[in-house]
Symmetry: C2
Subunit: 222 residues, 2 copies
Amino acid sequence: MIDASHVPAEDQPLTAHVAGRIRDMLISGELSPGAKLSEQHMAAHFSISRNTLREVFRLLTSQNLLTYIPNRGVFVATPGEASVVDIYRVRRVIQKGAVQAASPTHPALSRMKDQLARTGAAQANGDWLKVGTINMEFHRSMVDLCDSPRLNAGFELVLAELRLVFAQFDDTAHLHEPYIALNKALLASLERGDTDTATKQLDDYLLRSERSVLAALQRARS
Amino acid sequence: MIDASHVPAEDQPLTAHVAGRIRDMLISGELSPGAKLSEQHMAAHFSISRNTLREVFRLLTSQNLLTYIPNRGVFVATPGEASVVDIYRVRRVIQKGAVQAASPTHPALSRMKDQLARTGAAQANGDWLKVGTINMEFHRSMVDLCDSPRLNAGFELVLAELRLVFAQFDDTAHLHEPYIALNKALLASLERGDTDTATKQLDDYLLRSERSVLAALQRARS
DNA sequence: CAATATAAATTGTTCAACAATATAGATTCG
DNA sequence: CGAATCTATATTGTTGAACAATTTATATTG
């Protein structure tokens, strides 16, 4: 998703623009899970009216990025264990669908290959944040194999939520590092057209990843 | 989805209430695909302010029920062939996941059985609208097998969109009638725990259903 | 120190206004 | 007569202020 970003973009409606900026603040960690977004404060910060801001809140709330409590306000979502379990349930269904829909000539595969290479570079540099980001792109590309805008959008949603899970950790290094090798093997299977093996490798990846995320979450909650 | 409906419900925020009422107008056909929803008109109709209404529009737009064109306004979505193809792609992925996650003791199965019975009754009465409604409930229950709120929500979205496809037809009778038998067989396989057969039956169902919907859409566009 | 009453801040919603954009209507020209 | 252009009108985009309802913070009391 190239995101001709929120720097000069004054073309689209204000609400979309601000929604993008808040999303950026979310993934950059500028807004931590659980933080309250006061209407007054945020409206002043973005120099927009409360009315317009509330439209933005509705948008982001419907994407599970913000949590809305009537009469109390809007908060950055703090996905817990239940959310994690559900997110991985969704991932299993959608990504399995993607693997099974994969054809060895699909352009998404070459994108995945490229991303894997860049992950390796970032890993060598010790830039774990970047490793995590590219790893997510890798899996997003995998879902591109479905050629379904709606599945892409849905998957995008759970990935964004998963980012909020990671935002609750201080140390994300070991959450991605061990899995690069698994991704490499998975991609190889896909390029070979070996769907069955790829499916098994995906299952293995998701199981391990879910386990370590859940463990990290419990550790962070102590 | 029990929907303690929009009759006396003055508890939840106004936006949620109005969103529900518009959704009702959509599925009841009171608002046809392509219709424009003027802010002024709608705000007056529901006796709410334009600002509040716009919050509602953002909500429904994010659910693909309304289409939002900047500076032009909000319209009832008119899903075309591309949408139908994509919707069925999503259905294949999610419902296949559901069938494969099914355990013969899952409570959703008994709900499906009940719905199938009611479909039969409606069919006998020639109430095709009801047949369609219950048929959709049947498939929604199927996705309940995943025990995933997020998959349920996502599936809900595409079903709502599919309803807007049907709303473009005058005659929906033959779109559901032939498939009740297939549903019956599918349910039997699930109760037997025969996942493989169920998967094949689901694929068959979706293929045929998609074909007839696409055909009906082309007919309606002539 | 806990419970309660009061004050302050925040959300929920409305209204009125105006700039920016789009639609419809009237006018002109080929 | 039909196509292109200009103008007037209606609609959306956004703001600011206002006020009731609810929540949170503060002060008071037992």
